[in-house]
Point group: C2
Chain length 251, copies 2
DNA sequence: CGTTGTGAAGTGGTTCACAGCC
DNA sequence: GGCTGTGAACCACTTCACAACG
């Protein structure tokens, strides 16, 4: 690989820790629900419960945004909704393209939560010429040839990749070359992008494997000996030439 | 409000840090690709590049599993594939149910990566009686009424929720009551579960919002002051950073 | 009072850098 | 010589606990 820059080194963001940024959408969702029920104020304790975090963490998170609460009272729901929305950049409109309109791409296109908050699907793009013109979620699919033009005409800076793994890196490069600087990747592959481009990935099989790990642990907690013998078929001898696997774990 | 959750850091796993567990699937994927190309051994540097991490981290991660490498040479690809698979619990079969067969559920059912490694879709379940019997991904959709029976008959311990947000908590509770102890949640809502049940969530709109945050930051790096006041609706004074975008808040 | 906001202490994860071994 | 495995230093995030304040 040549230009493999995946993680930005020390993106201090703006003083807001990355972990906090990742929770702001959660708070926003909980606050929006409160807002719809016309709840005027909320304490850190209540809001934290609704968002599934603990209250000290929530208060610390909010402290990075400023002092938006009132001691002895709590937080003003509407005001906080506005502040978090602004902080997340949701007070502006983000045109998004979805590339790869298979089952998943179509599901994403139909996903309501997309349009709800600042995001607008500007185009659906697929490499299959037979799909061109087919309406998906009330929108005609466009051919990959148009990708660059679509991005530029719509000022798209966020792209969603839901192509097969094999096509993802190439699509990614075209998106980036056309001006996209944030990518949400659903393809099960590692994307390499130039510095300055953000990539987030969503990967079903990784999530399942993490669950399986913990699941296995739970099962093993009781039944210790449960012959999970290695399939002798596999050539899993210790090492190449000489075997030595003491598995030392001092600490 | 507090459910007597003593916040057990059960994440102690078995000495393997959670962050490491989350990367094992990534290594496994890269190793599988090497294996298919019949590459016999790989260095930490090469494998790290393929997995998109740095080599020190990879070596540290592997050190939690044991000493599976050979100094001066690298790691035996096949052997490592086996060791990681075993560690993740992929040497056994995990039946999975998908609840909520809308666009997304159908996409998940069709997702190939599902079956590939240890996971097997045992059933597709939906609350819509009209869907019952309809084949999706070559499998008949079953009605929610059957949920408990399906889980028990198949020994399902992992459930995927792709219902609308409003139904998710209820579905979750039924899954857990029937014996499921790991849940992958695609619904945009916080699930509350009893201790001992693992939940992982995949949330499109959260990911987009995180991207928007960084995107906004990039844009703001150039364009400096744009001082426009937040809506006068703000009734408190605050000392946070100043706003810059007029209100567009949908309430 | 009750609840926020925050230094300080604690925890977990990453990176460095090099000893140990092939 | 090359590469792994790992203490130690470093850094980011979380939690504690309490002073500040409406």
């Amino acid at each position: 690989m040549a230009t493999g820059r995946t993680h930005r080194p020390a993106t201090r963001s703006r003083g807001i820790p990355e972990a906090t940024v990742a929770r702001l959408p959660l708070y926003l969702r909980a606050l929006t629900a409160l807002s719809e029920r016309s709840v005027p104020t909320v304490s850190s304790e209540e809001l934290a419960a609704a968002a599934g975090v603990n209250s000290a963490k929530l208060r610390k998170d909010f402290s990075y945004l400023g002092s938006y609460g009132t001691r002895g009272v709590g937080y003003d729901v509407e005001y906080l909704v506005y502040q978090i929305s602004r902080e997340l950049g949701l007070t502006q409109d983000w045109p998004v393209v979805i590339v790869g309109i298979g089952n998943l791409g179509a599901a994403l296109a139909n996903y309501g939560g997309f349009a709800s908050r600042g995001f607008r699907v500007a185009a659906l793009i697929d490499a299959d010429p037979a799909m061109a013109g087919t309406p998906v979620a009330g929108m005609p699919v466009q051919h990959t040839d148009e990708l660059e033009k679509i991005i530029k005409d719509n000022g798209v800076s966020i792209g969603v990749i839901s192509t097969p793994a094999g096509a993802a890196q190439q699509v990614c490069e075209r998106l980036v070359a056309a001006g996209v600087t944030s990518i949400l990747n659903f393809a099960p592959t590692v994307l390499s992008v130039p510095e300055g481009v953000d990539v987030r990935k969503v990967d079903l099989s990784i999530e399942l494997q993490i669950l399986a790990f913990h699941e296995q642990r739970k099962a093993g907690e009781e039944a210790a000996a449960d012959g999970i013998e290695p399939p002798a078929a596999a050539k899993q001898q210790r090492k190449g030439p000489d075997g030595d696997v003491p598995a030392v774990m001092p600490a």
